[in-house]
Symmetry: C2
């Protein structure tokens, strides 16, 4: 029985299992649901054991548990693949906007509605079906690659213990490639692979001036105004072309290849529709780049908040004593968040006028961007696997923000490949989350082919 | 008996009367003290009647009463002079910082401590002593000018009914020159006259962008950010030389004369001391002007407040839906506040990028600047009168902000002359307000000489 036939034959069983898992409200951000996250880990461990994984463990953390499973290839020289996903889910507020109960999984047409259906339980579970299908098709009793699964339980609450967990288990997690199944495709009829995610670092900048708010009648126009200086500072973050103008900010940037830009240009992008999603009436950004390139390929500086002086009603003619701003920088491959922080600190110092004192406070070490190497064997294998499953060309996308993926690449030293079948319209993080069951089956099929391709069997 | 001898002979009587008046807590900003403001008006009316003014009236307003008094010159062709002052006082908080009770007037050395001693009861009352001295010296039973006094009761709470009061009584207030006794001199040993006050207009600017806060990972760098646009807008309010860069803002500006700039340069200005007063460590301002010129002679734009996006603790990577700023513009003679508002509105529209919507809300019609004509007879007479009283050259100053003075000039169509003997160190509006009694006597003397000079008697 070939891969696709096996998967189709086990469709109902797969959906039934997934519903069982989705019924567990594993909301990691809500302490009241922490026992459910533990139950969810247990359920997954049992399911992977039943699937045939010889090693299945629930890994405790100072927070909520992850699940680790391993199924060695028969050939000790076969590559090792680590699949990453998560079994915790987002909260469900506002719950009254759900058409059916978020934890009573409900099929309507090809869609399966439930919190976590797309993000990420459905996309974790298709791997179990995928490996079963690969074995059924080959008749072997071990997969063509050594398959490891690491499914964390705190992704929706910031993955706070995940990096430490990986560091503590670096040897057991060692792999040749990490497969991330927690992203989306362009559209159901436009299968695509995510090949990169921007990183981020954020800073709070404060400028301090007069020892107290001054009356602007007496002093206005003769001492430096922290809000004016902050406006100059923030205005200077970009040049006239909308490019970040902090000296040294772009150090190390690895530009996207022309091939990738060409493939991005082939995506059926509707800017009007995108603007509607962005609740905006016009685009803006770095000259020379399309909207998708601005979101995916370009590093940015974004002012997230700003305050100072009199912000209440009515007028109050003061020269304020201080000004504050929060700025986040989206980073692209090649940028080191700590170097960016250093350059931002230097920029702030350089533009702070005499008479003001600047403070910069960074929100942690930041997150590196991650990207797949488009010329790598693993990437080509994954693309080929998806093309076999979908029967059409697979395009490339990126994502504008990121989760713990860069940590996976950094800590495990493995290239990333994103294999996922979620859709933007799946309403992850929102009421009425759903997943397309036919796409989950394509995901399972893609996974099965990927193990073949990587194991040299395909 | 000459003017000075008369004044010295009546010193104790003057101080005794002033103490009586200062004991009335006429705080206009505090409704609990409104009966005291009424008592204060009554006290002044009685005092002016006792001084010999033939006409003394308490003028009611929708708020607190003003006092009007008139003493016609014997010569019907003599000029008419209107003296402006106020009989209400500032609140006394924090009252525990007063060394003696603010409404128990206390002499220590040459100083008389009480709320209102300098601002403005002492400076109103010296006019009564001044006219008595002028009459005693001349032996006449009417002053050499027709003398009108208008002493309002709401100056410290915004003079809200004062313009209407003047308009309603324009005929009775008609005058050839208005003498304002509510400012300060440079120092006790550096007598000076204020010859101008900046005007002001203020605006709240709002920029609206996305219909909701957007996730900057998904949208950052591809839609216009209202805080970035606001930073650009505010940064563009000044050019590189610190000059206001709003096109048309300077329309009509009447530059100060070189004579005035030369006289300002002769003031013994200690910039270190001034910086200490400003609780600042460096000056800033329009290139080509000294600190005093920046405060007194130059129109400015000052950002008083600004806010938008995430202002709480921690990071929140949003593209905010809106940004807001409060800006006030200090104006100089020749600038029309309504024209400035028009130019600011046009500037905001011009720099608002596509995709954002701008709103400008001005805080009322604004206040024109006012200035004395340095070549006018009245100004020369007042300077000469002060120089006779003080026995030394009188320099010129201006003030950076303004009260209702511009309305007086506008509504009554009279040139302004500032005759006042307060000091910056009098701590007006602060605990332990005081006045120098010898300076009040010099004020009375200056007033007596001024009536002589203006009446052609001197």
């Amino acid at each position: 029985m070939d891969v696709r036939a096996h998967i189709e034959a086990h469709r109902d069983e797969f959906v039934s299992s997934l519903k069982e898992w989705l019924a567990i409200p594993s909301i990691s951000a809500d302490p009241a649901h922490h026992p459910d996250v533990v139950r969810s880990a247990r359920w997954l461990a049992d399911h992977l054991t039943a699937t045939g994984f010889p090693t299945v463990e629930v890994w405790q953390t100072p927070g909520l548990p992850a699940v680790f499973a391993e199924w060695p290839a028969a050939d000790p020289d076969a590559p090792t693949v680590l699949v990453y996903g998560h079994h915790d889910v987002q909260p469900v507020d506002p719950v009254q906007e759900w058409e059916t109960d978020p934890f009573t999984p409900t099929e309507r047409g090809t869609s399966l509605f439930a919190r976590g259906a797309s993000d990420d339980k459905g996309q974790v579970l298709f791997h179990a079906l995928g490996v079963s299908a690969a074995l059924a098709a080959s008749g072997a009793d071990a997969p063509p690659v050594t398959l490891k699964l690491l499914v964390e339980g705190e992704e929706e609450s910031g993955s706070v213990h995940f990096a430490d967990l990986m560091r503590a288990n670096r040897d057991r997690l060692a792999c040749d490639v990490a497969v991330i199944s927690d992203t989306t495709m362009w559209a159901a009829d436009t299968p695509s692979m995510c090949v990169g995610m921007r990183g981020v670092t954020d800073v709070e900048i404060s400028l301090y001036g007069p020892g107290r708010d001054l009356h602007s009648g007496s002093f206005g126009g003769a001492v430096p105004n922290p809000l004016k200086a902050m406006s100059d500072l923030l205005s200077g973050l970009h040049d006239e072309d909308g490019r970040v103008a902090v000296p040294g900010f772009h150090d190390g940037v690895v530009e996207a290849s022309q091939e990738e830009r060409d493939l991005i240009a082939r995506l059926p992008f509707d800017e009007r529709e995108w603007l509607a999603t962005a609740a905006s009436t016009a685009t803006w950004g770095e000259r020379g780049y399309s909207t998708l390139e601005r979101i995916w390929l370009r590093p940015t500086a974004e002012i997230n908040g700003m305050w100072g002086g009199h912000t209440g009603s009515g007028g109050k003619t003061v020269v304020p004593r201080s000004a504050h701003a929060k700025v986040s920088f989206r980073l692209v491959p090649g940028q080191d968040p700590l170097h960016v922080q250093d350059r931002v600190r230097a920029y702030v110092e350089a533009v702070t006028p005499e008479g003001l004192r600047a403070e910069t406070e960074f929100g942690g070490p930041g997150v590196r961007a991650c990207a797949s190497d488009l010329s790598s064997t693993a990437l080509k294998a994954a693309r080929s696997a998806m093309e076999r499953a979908f029967g059409t060309q697979v395009l490339f996308t990126r994502e504008g923000g990121s989760g713990p993926e860069a940590d996976i690449a950094d800590i495990l030293g493995a290239p990333l490949v994103f294999l996922a079948v979620g859709l933007d319209e799946d309403r992850i993080h929102a009421p009425n989350e759903k997943v397309e069951v036919p796409l989950l089956l394509k995901g399972a099929e893609s996974a099965a082919y990927l193990w073949e391709e990587l194991g040299g069997v395909g």
